[in-house]
Symmetry: C2
Subunit: 418 residues, 2 copies
């Protein structure tokens, strides 16, 4: 596939993240207006809520885009996803006879604020990157016991907090929590001193399921993908996580990029999962290429400072695909719903320059990394802005996600509101 | 406090779970009708959706009870909770001048099916019963390491699956899952052979919060309580739970009782948490009696058989109150929302007859328990019906919850739908 051209001229570039090939779905607002659903095209947004209100969309139901979230659209099912994408492509393609009717519904991205693109119904975070799991396991349990015994047989994960998922651009306060250092007799309550990021992709469940589903069905049920930063307080996590897993260490915030990149847009970039040490049990086996070749990077910008790119990796480094994670998630009969968000787990490559968390980059704080400015970092400092970037690179075009950005604000002076 | 009398004569008994002192909130349906919200009184239900439609309720907003869930009511805040309870008490009290106007809105409990009383927004399950944690820890890690180091300092918990919460009376299929016995070389996929219950209370968050809250605020934000059975596949859990905690082993279903018993109804039964081995950090300390004296029991009925009561315990056996759990849940800044459900953790007393799970009663399957019929059980068998019962016992009246009941159906022959 090559670049598809549009009468929205800013979309006809090998640099824009949003060519006609992409057509990602978001929610935007202007000032105090009720947010609208929109589709990114070049540096513009096609306002689909306004198009629907004008009777210019032909969907199986009315008022799909009134709620300022893509959940109702997702709930219409895969046939509607395909038909709508085709209709949008027809509207926006170079030479479209719809140009005159539609061009009044374009809004400049520069003039809007992006909102959460969908209501996160529940959020699950996996731990399915082998390099990351090996690195973290080596730090915590030694090289011999790095991977837990179950790791090569199931994509292990834990349930996170949907209420804490925020859209790119939301500032995050350094959290307070219960902390206990290895040499402390007793725990204390204080601000986290080891606040970190995790570079992940998020998969969004579009079609609900009730009971176990196959990997093929799981792949069909996924609607699209976002970038995801699973902010992590390593010191809170270390004290709390045994035996029930991460809880408050992961509950301050999880940031997602503002545009849902559809599975359809990513289709040309499918690739295989890596070779496996143990054959997976039949219900978890790959049924085709289900990862995606998406370049990913992590940028850090100290307050008022210069941006340093501190990691470059690729989604294809994952051991398990989102489809395998979703299939595993249903094995017990667990119902999955439209708007469920599945975090991939931290995506690290084999090389130190490819690690997806500061925990790994600074090897638990023992080897601080040096930024472009000469400053060093073991973990995030107050005022730092962290940005994840992602792009699938095609022949003369890219499929971008928009950034996944957040600035760490200092801890509240007194955490409890009175 | 003693029994308050009502013109609904079935409510004037020291045996009914639903005297005028209680007034719990549920959702009921008749045949294919849209479900209504209702209040239990004796063996009847006052149909508050119909009362609202008739203009006979005076709430700050319209159509509060149109959604067949109590979430919108909870969202109106504690002043409205108190005013509405007072209005209901006035309507239903013996001698009320509203009797004639209201009596047409009574429905017999025998004629309805109970539905989920509220939309579970997210679900968190704690592990805050010390006898239970000690028992399980002793079985898994030996008596010296029974309690994890954090246990006496924070109410540890994990996020569960809201989508899997069902109302009493819902049948449960024995789940499939990935299993690996201690002597197996490799895991296999099969039906759970160690399916269990956990006797818990569920606390429902009525008032949302954004940022850390104190224990006093947390107590104020709780709307009410239900009985909760956290069905648990011990063999799935054993293989999956390290290091990220329970996941599919707890995702088949969690059953709650159909009536939300309000904090107001339980007020006379408040009691203190037990003496503590370590003083809690200030943000988690008790600020008054925050547990409740509620008698709890577990009944098992084999298919077509006789019911055996296999455990009797009390909610006051908990080490941490729901208010302390909710306060801890917010320490990281985690937003909590109206409709969040917090499971207490298994409520076991010190004696073997007081254990809240079959895992403990049969000591990991090594000491099967004997039922009234002479049958034995290590874990649940297909066709068994498990029922939790709960009642706070006052002076001539009880505050009941309705049962929390589920029958275990056999595993699906082939788990995946084709």
């Amino acid at each position: 596939m090559s670049l598809m051209t549009s009468w929205v001229t800013s979309a006809n570039s090998d640099q824009t993240p949003f060519p006609l090939n992409n057509l990602p779905y978001g929610v935007f607002s202007r000032g105090d207006e009720w947010p609208h659903c929109g589709v990114a095209i070049g540096d513009m947004i096609l306002d689909v809520t306004a198009l629907e209100q004008a009777g210019m969309l032909y969907l199986p139901e009315d008022e799909v885009f009134e709620t300022a979230a893509w959940n109702e659209f997702m709930d219409l099912g895969a046939d509607t996803w395909a038909a709508f994408r085709k209709a949008l492509t027809d509207m926006l393609a170079m030479g479209s006879d719809k140009q005159k009717a539609v061009e009044g519904y374009l809004v400049a991205q520069a003039d809007v604020q992006m909102q959460m693109p969908f209501d996160v119904v529940e959020y699950t975070d996996f731990y399915a990157g082998k390099h990351h799991a090996t690195n973290v396991g080596t730090m915590f349990r030694g090289a011999e016991n790095a991977l837990p015994p179950n790791w090569l047989h199931i994509p292990i994960g834990y349930n996170g907090r949907a209420s804490s998922v925020v859209v790119s651009g939301t500032d995050i306060h350094r959290p307070w929590g219960q902390l206990k250092g290895p040499n402390d007799d007793l725990p204390r309550f204080g601000p986290s001193a080891r606040f970190d990021i995790e570079l992940e992709m998020g998969a969004i469940v579009g079609t609900a399921s009730d009971g176990p589903i196959t990997v093929a069905q799981a792949d069909a049920n996924i609607f699209g993908y976002v970038l995801l930063n699973d902010w992590s307080a390593r010191d809170i996590q270390a004290w709390e996580y045994q035996p029930l897993g991460p809880f408050q260490g992961k509950a301050t915030a999880t940031t997602i990029s503002p545009w849902i990149v559809t599975k359809a847009a990513l289709e040309p970039f499918r690739c295989d999962t890596p070779a496996r040490e143990f054959e997976l049990l039949p219900h978890l086996r790959d049924v085709g290429p289900m990862l995606y070749d998406i370049d990913l990077s992590v940028e850090i910008t100290p307050e008022g400072g210069t941006t340093s790119t501190i990691a470059r990796t690729n989604y294809s480094e994952m051991y398990y695909s989102a489809a395998q994670q979703l299939a595993h998630h249903t094995t017990s009969g667990c119902p999955m719903r439209t708007g469920d968000l599945l975090g991939s787990g931290t995506i690290s490559g084999p090389d130190k320059s490819q690690y997806g968390s500061l925990l790994e980059m600074s090897w638990g704080g023992k080897e601080p990394l040096t930024l472009e400015t000469g400053e060093t970092r073991s973990f995030i400092e107050d005022g730092d802005t962290l940005a994840l970037q992602g792009a699938a690179k095609g022949d003369g075009y890219i499929i971008g996600f928009g950034g996944c950005v957040g600035t760490l604000l200092p801890a509240l002076e007194t955490p409890f509101k009175t």
